[in-house]
Symmetry: C2
Subunit: 200 residues, 2 copies
Amino acid sequence: MSAPIEFYFDFSSPYAYFASHGIDAVAAEFGRPCLWKPMLLGPAFKASGNQRLVDQPLKGAYALHDWLRLGRMLNLPYRHPDPFPVATTAAARVFWWLEATDSTRAKAFARAVFAAYFAEGRNISDEDVVAGLAEGQGQDRQSAVDAMRDPRWKDRCRSETEAAIARGVFGAPFFFVGGEGFWGSDRLEMLRSWLGRGGW
Amino acid sequence: MSAPIEFYFDFSSPYAYFASHGIDAVAAEFGRPCLWKPMLLGPAFKASGNQRLVDQPLKGAYALHDWLRLGRMLNLPYRHPDPFPVATTAAARVFWWLEATDSTRAKAFARAVFAAYFAEGRNISDEDVVAGLAEGQGQDRQSAVDAMRDPRWKDRCRSETEAAIARGVFGAPFFFVGGEGFWGSDRLEMLRSWLGRGGW
């Protein structure tokens, strides 16, 4: 068994932000590559009849509280962003543009996007903000802006979202090892158990 | 900090079944009492705009698969019951009747109900089945049947459900330590961390 770990996420998901700080260590522990796959949660919610957490009575209030305490528990910076959630198409397209040539740089950019939104309170739906984050990672600013408009990366973003839904993704984060899916940042331990025992 | 752990559940919840096999050990580890509190998920779903898992596209299929693999991972018997889910009023009323005089016997009865449904495939919405389970725990059969119809336990079941919703319960299992709530069988580790560190 040597399938990579595939990590599906939306840049606007707090649980995906928390998972982004743990998933590569799990992959390294078991000698697996870890593929980061930004997608758009909107279509996945539509396909599953799901709603944004903050729109749900009771569960929305629980989630808001849970994100703050998860930050404290994991010792990770977390400021609940406003506006929330936001459209993440620009960031996802820039990611896929970078990923086509260098997945390490793409991941570094993704980490910068997560930090900007959840630690620094910057609005990552803003194209200028996203371009600045790419620039901060050593990319040419205009090339990043071009990537946001390039139909190639728009299509890639859509096709990855569609592929995720076809595999059963209805929320984020969602991990796959081969055909086996794991939903939620609190499933990293289950994923470790699966990798350690070779499934059960 | 010496608040008990309160364990809210519906007898028809597979995740609550799995949690029922772990929660008392967590409570014992931290020297806390563990109060079992059966409730009805239907009103909690209504209050939160939630739906039964098996009715949800994508998430329902995930849950069905997840319950089977959790049984294997935790080495607990699990056969997905049919019919599913079922009304659990009779079992919950008998529980509250027993709990009024002996919480240890009430818990033993609750474990028997969970096992009957999730390991033995018996229909726990059937009053005869529930009466038989009470009898198997050394209770008088007719007294158990009377308890199912007694307005006291009907009211208790409803008031516990209302109290749970007022505290923010939208699914099962749901644990409280004082005012702090934890949702889901995969949050036992988070609960342990909370108890071990005295919150974060």
